[in-house]
Structures are given as structure tokens and as C-alpha cells.
């Protein structure tokens, strides 16, 4: 079931100088997010992903196109009704954006107070949320007394206080160190699994997508250039922009410069075998090479695991007679992708 649907969405800003062309931040984007998805949107800074996520809760006004949230077209709603829509969508931020003048408990209570919930309910819900994010002992502390990871956990508790069905995460881990990032990602995973909250997360870190997202869209210059299951995009990216992101976390087929470096250290022919879940097994490849009397040495690459499905690229230096190597490569390439460096 769709929970957020964008159709041909455009967001443009007035030109910086009079008479100039308007600045198009989002260029005809369509996106379908299903209930329960963790939908990752990745792109470099300036790609438009921050703007895109702000269109979903109408913090920014859409120039044209349609955005349907939970069955409701929001682009035509008046400001007063949009406030109610925003109250039903949680949002967390890169810089946490906690109210420094309020205690942790008061921060979490804020959206509930805005929604006009009775005081007793607010107290109860705040206690529940504090418990969920593991910060019950910090209720009376102020944000400046917390670590970065704790601040983001308060941010998550505040965003989820009104039990929204959707959580927007704007570079939620980009200001955190690797260990704390893991902690916050684990919490977001629980939010999705235990509370059934649909998460739309934007990031420039492919690692975040790999560990949390089920689907991914790659943004470049205001457009979505590729989208799909995280496994498909990681194991077989179709667009240059996607491939660049995948390369940041996955060692793929070595580039010619990398091949030169490998040649300097290894003798033999440099061949990359690509594996994808369901293709021929690694064991079969190694058995074939051994049976043909070809020596092999693993020189580059690795195997990656995404949600229990494996893929990867292994680059081997093969030694033996050319005839034997050619024969075995022909056999293996019937079952899986073989790329030889020239």
C-alpha cells in the first residue's frame, strides 16, 4: 500500500537575479513509497534531496506536481490544515535541532502539546518514548548536557511522540561518529520493525543505505536517476552516479589504474569474477580453476551481504598455460560474469 506518492513533482526557486532563469531544485520527480518501507534517497550535497524530503511534510511549497500522503493530496491544502499533516509526520535532522531552552522531557512533549493532548497523556507518552530510546534517566537534563548520539535519540523520541506513520530522516547520522551512527541506525531499524513506521531517509553515505534501507533512489541534479531494491542497485548499478556511490562501500571491478598497481605486485592474468545471489557459487569457480590446472591468487575485491543476500566481485591473478586459462574462463563465463583486465 502506498503511503507517500510523488508524481511529476517540481520545485523551483525564483531567479537569484532579475531576469534570470528560475533555479530548479527538484526536476519532475516521481516516487512511490510503500507502507513499512525504509526508503533511502542518496545524492551528493546540492542534489536536491533535502528539498525533496521537505516537500513531503510541506515545509517547502511544491511548485507543480502532486504529493499524496496517506491518501491525501497535500499540495493544495491551506497552511492551517498542513500543520495537522506535519504533526502526523515525524522528522529528525542532521544537527538534531533540539530546543536548548527545554529539558529532554519538554522537547519530547512539544509535538504533543502542539497537538493539544491533555497533560496526563503527554506525561505518559513522554515516559514511554524516553524508555523506548533508553534515556529515561535524562528526562530532566538539557540538550547541551547530552552527547551527539543521545541528542539524536531525543530527536527520534520527539519525532515519534505523536505516533506518526511516517518518519523523515534528514542526514540523521551525518554529524555522528561511526560508533554512534551504528547506535542510531539500530534504533531507526527498531522504529521501523517494532513500531511499523515508514522511514524516508536522505543521506550521502552509502553505508547508511546499506545497513538500513530496503529501497533506494539515487538523486543527481534534482532528478532521480535510478531506483530500486537496495540489493539490485548495489549489485548491479545501471547509472554512473549510482555506480560512484556503490564504489564508496563496495570494491567492484578494478579500474585500469588499480590493475596497473596489481600487475606490479602479481604475475599472471588479472581476471574479475562477479557473483550475485543465485549465480554460480564461488566454490564451483575455484573447483573449475583447480581442475584445469590453473593457479589462482585472490588479489582484490570482496563479498557483501545485504539483508541476507550476497554479492561481490573477486579479482584473481591466474597462472598457467594460456590455453588452459582460456578454456576454463569460457566455461565459467557461461554461468557468471567474467571480466579480464587487458
Amino acid at each position: 500500500m502506498s503511503i507517500v506518492t510523488l508524481t511529476d513533482v517540481v520545485k523551483s526557486y525564483p531567479p537569484a537575479q532579475k531576469g534570470g532563469a528560475p533555479v530548479v531544485a527538484i526536476d519532475s520527480v516521481s516516487l512511490d513509497v510503500q507502507k513499512g518501507d525504509v526508503y533511502g534517497i542518496i545524492g551528493y550535497s546540492g542534489a536536491g534531496k533535502s528539498t525533496l524530503v521537505r516537500l513531503v511534510n510541506a515545509l517547502e511549497k511544491t511548485t507543480s506536481g502532486s504529493i499524496v500522503v496517506d491518501g491525501r493530496e497535500i499540495t493544495t491544502l491551506p497552511e492551517r490544515e498542513l500543520r495537522a499533516v506535519r504533526g502526523d509526520i515525524g522528522m529528525i535532522f542532521q544537527q538534531f535541532n533540539l530546543f536548548n531552552s527545554k529539558t529532554v522531557a519538554k522537547n519530547i512533549a512539544y509535538p504533543l502539546e502542539v497537538a493539544g493532548r491533555p497533560a496526563a497523556e503527554v506525561r505518559e507518552r513522554v515516559a514511554e518514548m524516553l524508555d523506548f530510546v533508553g534515556l529515561s534517566d535524562k528526562a530532566r537534563n538539557y540538550p547541551d548536557q547530552l552527547s551527539g548520539g543521545q541528542k539524536q535519540r531525543v530527536g527520534i523520541a520527539r519525532a515519534l511522540a505523536t505516533s506518526p506513520a511516517i518518519l523523515l530522516a534528514d542526514e540523521a547520522t551525518s554529524a555522528l561518529d561511526p560508533e554512534t551512527t551504528g547506535e542510531v541506525l539500530a534504533l531507526l531499524e527498531r522504529v521501523n520493525r517494532e513500531l511499523g513506521v515508514t522511514i524516508i531517509l536522505i543521506t550521502h553515505e552509502m553505508d547508511v543505505i546499506r545497513s538500513l534501507a530496503t529501497k533506494v533512489a539515487v538523486m543527481d541534479s534534482g532528478r532521480i536517476v535510478e531506483r530500486g531494491d537496495v540489493f539490485d542497485v548495489f549489485s548491479n548499478p545501471q547509472e554512473a552516479a549510482s555506480a560512484r556511490f556503490v564504489q564508496t562501500v563496495v570494491q567492484g571491478i578494478p579500474t585500469s589504474a588499480e590493475v596497473d598497481a596489481l600487475r606490479a605486485r602479481h604475475t599472471g592474468r588479472i581476471v574479475t569474477f562477479s557473483f550475485r545471489d543465485g549465480d554460480s557459487s564461488q566454490a564451483q569457480v575455484f573447483l573449475d580453476l583447480a581442475a584445469a590446472g590453473v593457479g589462482f591468487e585472490l588479489v582484490y575485491g570482496g563479498i557483501n551481504d545485504i539483508r541476507g543476500r550476497a554479492f561481490g566481485h573477486l579479482t584473481l591473478a591466474l597462472t598457467g598455460t594460456d590455453a588452459a586459462i582460456d578454456g576454463v574462463l569460457a566455461r565459467i563465463s557461461e554461468r557468471s560474469l567474467v571480466t579480464e583486465a587487458n
Partner: protein, 219 residues
């Protein structure tokens, strides 16, 4: 020295008068400045009630009135004081002029302090579904409270300064006391006594303001 002892009751009375003038002026000017400052802050580009025309108008208005030397301002607004209060002289007219003059100065201080509130925090409140007036009341003002208290402390001192020329339109206070009994009667001891009282007053207020701001800022 004997003369000073003789004048002590007058000095006491003048001190109370100064306090009265300053506190009432700070109250009205403080409210006026807060509203004008909020108007400047919220109408500027990218803010809650972004409105270029309104911002430009207010900005020019404040720029015109704020730099007028107070002793000239006090005379210039005398007709307005007569219109509003029915009288152009004395403490009431003085309080009127100070409140009006301080409104423009305070509005800039308020505007500058509100600009220190992180836009991200305001965005978080908007994302929670809060409307602009609620955001001003529950986020912007509380987040800027520490610096605002320091700003108003600074304004208190400036208003003590403004009130010193009260004698010019028949108002009282320590300034008037110093001119009347010290300067004009060639009695520097009396003048210096008035200075001492003002120094004590300013120190006391600055100290309290700092302590309060420190408490709010928790540092």
C-alpha cells in the same frame, strides 16, 4: 560636605524619582521594542511572516529615529506628548519621550538577539505542526531569553543615561539633582555624590542582569 548632608533628603528623593522614571520607561519602551523587534525579525526574508515591504518600511523607520540624539528627540516629540498626555513637560512627558526613543533602540537589540536562534530549531517546531505565533511564544523567545535579558540590562543603563537630561523639560531625577545643586552651585562634591549613586545603581542592575542571564543560560 556639609552642603551634601543638607541635600541628602533631596538626593534620596531624586534617586527614587530616577528609579520611577527608568522602570516605567523600561516597561513601556521594553514592550514597544519587543513588538517592533519581533516585527522586524518575523518580516525579514525567510522568516515566519516574510514581507519585504513591511520589513523595508520598519527598517527605515527605525533607522530614522534611532540615531537622533536624545536631547533633540525629547524636544521634537514634545508636541506628540502634548497630544497624547495633554502635557509637554515634567516627568510624564519625560517618560513618554524615553519610552518612545527606547522603543527604537530596543527593537534593534531584540531583532539581533532573535537572529541568534538557530533556523533549524524553528524548522523543527514547524515540522511538529506548530503555527507561527506558537513558535514565537514557545520557541523563539525562550531560546533567545538569555541574550535578551543581557540586552535589556544594557538598555536599563542606556535609559538611566537618557533620564539624566530630564531637567531639560522640567522632569526630576538624579541628573536634574546633579545639575541643579552640583553644577550650577559650583559644588563638585554634590555632583560626585550624584555620580556615585548612579554608579551604584548601574552596578546593581548589571550584576542582577548577568546573574539572571547566567541562570537562564545555565553557564
Amino acid at each position: 560636605m556639609d552642603r551634601l548632608l543638607e541635600l541628602l533628603p533631596e538626593l534620596g528623593e531624586a534617586t527614587v524619582e530616577t528609579l520611577y522614571i527608568v522602570v516605567i520607561s523600561l516597561f513601556f519602551g521594553g514592550i514597544g521594542g519587543l513588538l517592533l523587534g519581533l516585527a522586524l525579525y518575523t518580516t525579514r526574508a525567510g522568516s515566519l511572516f516574510e514581507n519585504r515591504a513591511a520589513f523595508t518600511l520598519l527598517n527605515i523607520l527605525v533607522n530614522i529615529f534611532r540615531p537622533i540624539p536624545f536631547i533633540i528627540f525629547i524636544a521634537a516629540v514634545q508636541p506628540l506628548a502634548r497630544l497624547v498626555l495633554g502635557i509637554g513637560i515634567g516627568n510624564s512627558a519625560l517618560i513618554f519621550a524615553i519610552s518612545l526613543g527606547a522603543t527604537f533602540g530596543i527593537s534593534r537589540i531584540v531583532e539581533q538577539n532573535l537572529l541568534t536562534v538557530s533556523p533549524g530549531v524553528i524548522e523543527a517546531a514547524r515540522a511538529a505542526g506548530a503555527g507561527p505565533f506558537r513558535i514565537i511564544r514557545t520557541v523563539i523567545l525562550p531560546e533567545a531569553l538569555g541574550p535578551l535579558i543581557l540586552g535589556y540590562t544594557f538598555v536599563f543603563v542606556a535609559i538611566v543615561d537618557m533620564s539624566a537630561v530630564g531637567g531639560y523639560i522640567g522632569g526630576g531625577g538624579i541628573g536634574n539633582f546633579a545639575i541643579l545643586y552640583g553644577y550650577r552651585q559650583f559644588n563638585p562634591v554634590v555632583t560626585w555624590a550624584a555620580v556615585l549613586v548612579i554608579i551604584l545603581l548601574v552596578q546593581l542592575v548589571q550584576f542582577s542582569g548577568n546573574a539572571l542571564a547566567r541562570k537562564i543560560l545555565r553557564r
